[in-house]
Subunit: 275 residues, 2 copies
Amino acid sequence: MTRFELAENIYKKGSCLCIGLDTDIRKIPTHLLEYEDPVLEFNRRIIEATHEYCVAYKPNLAFYEAGGPAGLISLEKTIHHIPPDIFTIADAKRGDIGNTSEMYARAFFDHYRFDAVTVSPYMGKDSVSPFLREGKWVILLVLTSNTGSMDFQFTDIHSQTTHENKLYEQVLHKSMNWSGPDGLMFVAGATHPELLKSIRMKAPDHFFLVPGIGAQGGDMEAVMRAGMNRQCGLLINSSRQILYASSGEDFADKARETAKSLRDQMSNHLKSIIH
Amino acid sequence: MTRFELAENIYKKGSCLCIGLDTDIRKIPTHLLEYEDPVLEFNRRIIEATHEYCVAYKPNLAFYEAGGPAGLISLEKTIHHIPPDIFTIADAKRGDIGNTSEMYARAFFDHYRFDAVTVSPYMGKDSVSPFLREGKWVILLVLTSNTGSMDFQFTDIHSQTTHENKLYEQVLHKSMNWSGPDGLMFVAGATHPELLKSIRMKAPDHFFLVPGIGAQGGDMEAVMRAGMNRQCGLLINSSRQILYASSGEDFADKARETAKSLRDQMSNHLKSIIH
């Protein structure tokens, strides 16, 4: 999917919502446990209930790997239930030496056929490059939403330019030489909305994947004010708030209501850029 | 496995060899392709041929994930062929927000029953902590063996102490407060032997996992001189050099010869610490 197509979907749906399919079998409604593949059944119904309000789905690989190979089969089948016009992100946070990253790229792009994969920058350019493929997307960790983001991402560095004072700024700056905004996005956490604005100034055209609203405490309104560009330029993720809106038989209805309510808030902000 | 038990195995075998089971189905001898699970058959024979010369096996997850769920089944079965006294490392380079890292820990420690997992530090302490379990090991990326290690790991930082001038030194220093040498190891690449010595001075008791000898150009003798402590304190990895020592029917014999030759070199160096 191209950047233009993604922006078109956002305009059309009035939504930049990404739904994190972080499905934990210990948290899904108990009546689903009688199905052969409860995780798949849960995901299928969540997708059916929410797809008109979102533009992306983002399964986090950890939740599927925890179940061993069977968990990955649930993931594989889940992907088949995602409508083809919706952007798919493997939230995998991978990154390894070149020949190994190439194997991960084969997994996520060729086997599971995701549009995008999240990648960790610590090992540098040659660990990221194998994921940069025509028609596919790298979403690079820049500034994450967890408290541990303070440990290294905010390390003061001796900057070569005035634009790089913290490590996350160096990651942003260097990686912008690796690919343009048509193949590279950045993870920028909702828990740092004041910094989203400065990242937006440095990367005016790139899409940002923004985790951390809802359970992690980030404020969606603040994120949209700080981070939007003329194409919207944001995919705002919500996981637990939608998936576990109810633990009863009405879980899918409640997930739909939550997704719709987030879409409605987004829609208001998006009016300013849709003519 | 405890640090003491690992050191005992190293003494007993005269070897600190870790064999990277980075099995690429496109590279294994063609006569194995007639088996139902060629990767498993290859791994089984490699393990049978080499286990007396090594103290650890390290499958890199990427090579199994590339095959989808079936690849993970090959991994699962491979692990059953590793003798129980050999240390097992999931080379996964994971790391995510707390509740997600916990799911990865369940995957590698509970499902696949690895002794250790490699973890990337970019997301900080709360992304690493869920992997710190009694009886299990975190192997944290500090200084990797690829050229991309220059991009961020060597970034000059404003140090709070005289011990931290580069990012990798900050990662080393901070993470030593997260766990002691009985639950935490570090990845320190063989392609930087001169720096191994300085890392050893800062972390005298920790084990280091050292990738990068062989195909990546690192020199084993230099690594052992620079990095050994009184318990050896090193796991030196070789992957492609052993796995693909021959592409013919004699691949397992050639792998054995290569592993034995590495063991013999190691054995000479280990004499200096074995009394």
